[in-house]
Amino acid sequence: MSAEETKVIDARNTFCPGPLMELITQAKQAKVGDTLELLSTDKGSTEDVPEWVHKVGHELISTEQIGDTWHIKIRKAK
């Protein structure tokens, strides 16, 4: 069993920068190595989140659209 956890953050139906800010709020509380999965219906999140992840040095795992929801997974790297 791994000690790392996956946390799902449901930010559907909120608009920019709501999903990003909710992700960051949870990322601050997470442990290094934890995975965070953001659910967003705001298309801009698919650009904003990778940009933020790249800028602050976390890891983007995947971005996937299921129906009208984007699932963006990141790993807290520091």
């Binding site: 139906n13 920068p17 709501g18 990003l20 800010m21 709020t25 601050k28 933020w52 800028k55 602050v56």
Partner: protein, 129 residues
């Protein structure tokens, strides 16, 4: 590269406060150093327990009112809490409105004079809303 961004909030309309809050929060959580100076019609929204709804100046503000957009007050608070942005009330506005520092939201720092703020802002980019 992190930058220094200085924002002056003057207007009390919804669109301008929202845009200023969006820039402050996103820049602050992305590693930029952000300072926001609140004066004129913007400051009243940050008195504790003040009404949060600012009037729209056009159709976009009216559209935002119908959608689940994060409140600008929350964006400024997150800028301070998550990104260490400085929220600075204008000392002249405090005097005119006869406000004490403890009447403002707790994320606000001490009242700051314009000369002091402009001196700090020499180092970075200044945006006015």
């Amino acid at each position: 590269m992190s930058r220094e961004i200085y924002i002056v909030c003057v207007s009390g309309t919804y669109e301008r406060l929202q845009m200023a809050g969006m820039i402050a929060s996103v820049a602050a959580v992305s590693g930029d150093s952000v300072s926001v100076f609140f004066s004129m019609n913007s400051l009243a929204y940050f008195i504790k327990d003040a009404e949060q709804q600012a009037p729209s100046e056009g159709p976009f503000g009216q559209l935002m009112e119908q959608k689940d957009v994060p409140p600008f007050k929350q964006l400024f608070t997150q800028a301070a809490d998550l990104g260490e942005a400085k929220l600075l009330p204008c000392s002249m506005a405090m005097d005119i409105m006869e406000l004490e520092a403890d009447q403002l939201e707790p994320e606000f720092e001490a009242p700051t004079g314009l000369t002091n703020f402009l001196g700090q802002a020499e180092r970075g980019q200044l945006l006015t809303f």
